[in-house]
């Protein structure tokens, strides 16, 4: 067993992937429900409106992607 080394870039990597998954999920949900509703299933866990969550997850995933790439070089 190799010793695990904590890297900050790993956190950012996980975060940007996770957030882009949320964005993709909302996209799929909107394809299934063409008449869009205010809430997504994820609103149970993230109690903000669907459109806000979609925009925020996409923007934040981009931010975390940049952060991941930045810290990964070091």
């Amino acid at each position: 067993m190799s010793k695990r080394v904590f890297k900050l870039s790993t956190v950012f990597e996980a975060l940007w992937i996770y957030l882009i998954f949320i964005w993709v999920y909302i996209g799929i949900e909107n394809l299934l429900y063409p008449a869009a509703v205010a809430n997504t299933n994820l609103s149970v866990y993230v109690p903000i409106p669907q459109n806000l969550l979609a925009v925020a997850s996409f923007a934040l995933s981009f931010v975390f992607f940049i952060l991941w790439k930045t810290y990964d070089k070091q």
Binding site: L32, N41, V44
Partner: protein, 336 residues
């Protein structure tokens, strides 16, 4: 043949504006023949003596109002009682005794076909005039004649159908007319009209179970992520949604069994349990694939906990659903 004596049970009539109320009553006047008893929280006077208004004091709960209204209507010796109220899961049990009396048209949401018919009818017949009531059973031949000529997808059925009717100049509030079928010697029955619509609707355009499956997977993923971050709230959400789904399912199936509903021909044990097990199997397959192709997943305690909880809840629902559904002989066919 004399026209049947009807009673309309309308809990929210008094809530409507006078214009909408009059518009709705005009539709009913055109749609039905003979004397009509209108049981509602509204008391009025009809010039032509077609309507007899019977006022009931409004109850706190709609089901109480309907209960009183049913009792009142049954004392009137009418042949049919029509209600436009959606007797959905919350009001599921109390009205079932009334259904056995043979003279009640109940209007609960029963299966996709009838839901479709009800919704279309609701949209095309009343429009803005009576949108307080969500379900009704009056079928409009004009709408069917238009819609039957087109292939519509289920997914955007309502939008497409409204656009079609608009393009044919059928105003949604003017569509109910008496005897406007082309062949006037023969009126189509409701089931025939529904069959016409369903035949011309693409059956495979959307998989409605898909969103349920997606929701389930999203819930499980959130459960896994939440547990791995040390949060137990997703666990509560997961279990509560399982419980809610279970109770909802049981109530729905009780009504369906009573009313010859959605899966009436498919209620054989094999099919039934296959439907139940599909999400579980796909979930376990998904986790298997994830743990095969990624190093992190599949080795921790959190994975074990979530997998065990998924399997446990699935087995529990499987056993309980089978037990509840098959315990009583509620699957006898009752057709109203």
């Amino acid at each position: 043949m004399a026209s049947p004596r009807l009673a309309l049970l309308l809990p929210g009539l008094g809530l409507l504006s006078e214009q909408n109320r009059n518009a709705f009553l005009e539709k009913q006047r055109a749609n039905f023949e003979g004397e009509i008893f209108i049981i509602s929280d509204f008391s009025g006077h009809d010039k032509n003596n077609r309507f007899t208004f019977i006022k009931i004091s409004p109850a706190a709960k709609p089901e109480d109002f309907l209960k009183q209204g049913f009792s009142a209507a049954l004392t009137l010796d009418v042949e049919k009682i029509i209600t436009f109220e959606n007797l959905s899961t919350r009001n599921a049990t109390w009205f079932l005794p009334y259904l056995g009396m043979g003279n009640v048209i109940e209007s609960t949401k029963r299966n996709f076909k009838e839901m479709l018919v009800s919704e279309v009818v609701n949209l095309v017949s009343f429009g803005n005039s009576y949108n307080v009531f969500s379900m009704n059973r009056i079928f409009t031949p004009e709408a069917v004649e238009v819609l039957a000529g087109y292939e519509l997808s289920r997914r955007s059925f309502l939008t497409e159908s409204i656009n079609l009717l608009n393009s044919h100049g059928i105003r949604t509030t003017e569509i109910i007319k008496k005897n406007t079928v082309k062949n006037k010697s023969r009126r189509l029955t409701t089931s025939e009209l529904a069959a016409v619509i369903m035949r011309n609707t693409k059956q495979n355009s959307v998989f409605y179970g898909g969103i349920s499956l997606l929701t389930y997977i999203a819930n499980v993923v959130m459960l896994y992520v939440g547990l791995s971050l040390g949060m137990i709230y997703p666990l509560a959400v997961f279990f509560s949604s399982e419980l809610a789904g279970l109770s909802n399912f049981i109530v729905n199936e009780k009504i369906n069994f009573k009313n010859r509903g959605f899966l009436n021909s498919a209620y054989k044990f094999g099919k039934f349990n296959a439907f139940l097990m599909v999400p579980v199997v796909l979930e376990i397959l998904l986790l298997g694939v994830l743990s095969r192709y990624s190093k992190g997943i599949g080795t921790g305690t959190f994975f074990a906990i979530s997998l065990i909880s998924i399997i446990a809840v699935s087995i529990l629902s499987f056993v309980l659903i089978n037990r509840f559904v098959w315990a009583k002989r509620t699957n006898t066919k009752v057709y109203i």
